[in-house]
Symmetry: C2
């Protein structure tokens, strides 16, 4: 891992690394916030997954999360949203290709060559972080929009791997909304049966471990009705008795101003769940 940024923030370190990923077979960038507590003890980790068009930079520069991570003694890992580079398949639109990996393992060419963001986030990343940083194996996961979809699906698919999961304005049913239909048909092909493995609303119906799902959603979000549709997940979860909490936030839109306003509550929630998991 090559460290390319190293800055003190709220008494801890906001670092950015470049590393060679086996999962995506290429270079990936990765942001790691280490709170002051990590100087003297191992700390738990919150994995953050960003939305369409984002890199590892958006969350660390705009969310204001470091303050709360320093308060609670939690590391935060924020990765990129896709493989990148001139030799990596891409598309000219913002919702497919680079910046739009959708946290799946693509099976269809040309995407299958590098687009294995599910494997990267669910397997390679925790191993890499736990080998190289002063962290425990207690993990939480959260994300925004496409990254909320990633957090929910990865938590549901990996019972026991995460102590807690939350999401901001997530895509909860990618099989049934335009962003998801476009990405999943490109990355996985036309057989919709195969999409179920990456659809939180489908996965929740058969989840072994009933990890509670915490979701914040702005009611002025411009994508609420067309792309996000959190009520689909709530209905599916409640039908099988899976704990879900959807908090509608009056007036908030899809921007980082929404994330910044509530990331403190999410980090406090994860801190509590991570403590209880000890």
């Amino acid at each position: 891992m090559e460290r390319i940024e190293h800055r003190v923030c709220f008494g801890g370190w906001q670092n950015v690394y470049s590393h060679r990923s086996h999962a995506v077979d290429g270079a990936m960038r990765l942001a790691v916030y280490l709170p002051p507590q990590a100087d003297t003890q191992k700390v738990p980790v919150l994995y953050w997954l960003s939305g369409l068009t984002c890199t590892e930079q958006n969350f660390i520069t705009k969310a204001g999360a470091q303050r709360y991570a320093a308060e609670h003694g939690m590391a935060i890992v924020a990765c990129d949203t896709s493989p990148r580079g001139g030799n990596v398949a891409d598309d000219s639109t913002y919702d497919l290709g680079q910046g739009a990996g959708f946290y799946v393992d693509a099976t269809v060419a040309p995407w299958s060559r590098h687009y294995r963001m599910y494997d990267y986030v669910a397997h390679e990343l925790p191993a890499l972080i736990e080998k190289n940083f002063p962290v425990t194996n207690r993990r939480a996961i959260s994300g925004h929009s496409m990254g909320g979809h990633g957090a929910l699906t990865i938590a549901l698919k990996n019972p026991g791997r995460y102590c807690s999961v939350s999401a901001f304005a997530p895509i909860v049913a990618p099989s049934r909304v335009p962003w998801g239909e476009r990405a999943l048909s490109a990355y996985l092909g036309r057989d919709r049966e195969l999409w179920r493995a990456y659809d939180a609303t489908e996965l929740v119906q058969t989840a072994n471990e009933k990890i509670p799902l915490l979701i914040d959603q702005g009611d002025a979000d411009e994508f609420l009705q067309t792309q996000l549709r959190p009520e689909l997940l709530v209905t599916a979860a409640e039908a099988v008795g899976h704990p879900v909490r959807l908090r509608m936030r009056h007036g908030y839109d899809h921007s980082y101003y929404f994330i910044a306003s509530f990331i403190g509550e999410h980090i406090a929630y994860h801190a509590k769940e991570l403590r209880n998991a000890r």
Copy 2:
């Protein structure tokens, strides 16, 4: 004023406007955060001046200040750092021209046509804000780097106009550092006597009203020795009994991670001074 952004943030509104400025004779962008308290009462205003290359966006997206402004019931106004546009004089370097107005009124062509950021910030902006928003006439001012220079000089030059002033990693002696020498010689000409009117270290020696100067400075700031040199201001202030407080912050650099880490303390300081001024 045309409103071009309007987003809920920490229960208040983060707005961005475009307006026609008389001072710079052109369109300017302007960010205004209104805390929740502004729904029912008039609130005081913190004016924020950004550093080289910044627009009105940097502070509102990266500093995390809205949380503290909402806590303390304070509006925050963040303006651009220069006039902008195809018909506005510019330079290909980052430290002169667009994005580098230095908060002076230029007297030398071609800059004198639009570069009147001192007049804009010190006169036009408070009048515009106090006419159009639910705010009191109690004002505080702060800024970063070139904007810290702007905040210190504008407060020192306008006794009684601001209840309090603070700065992050300010340029305190532009007459004696490369950034300042380049900008002041371009905007004001070669006569260094004229530069004194925009140099905090000079102004403090003759200030009528001894408004306390609060400065935070990272000791790992890459520009500390060459461009910032806060000790020059401290020495000059102490020689005339002008109250100054310089807090060196261990490990911090010149970035927004530094500002984000301490903006909460600055806003609390201004809130207290603004209350005491009632």
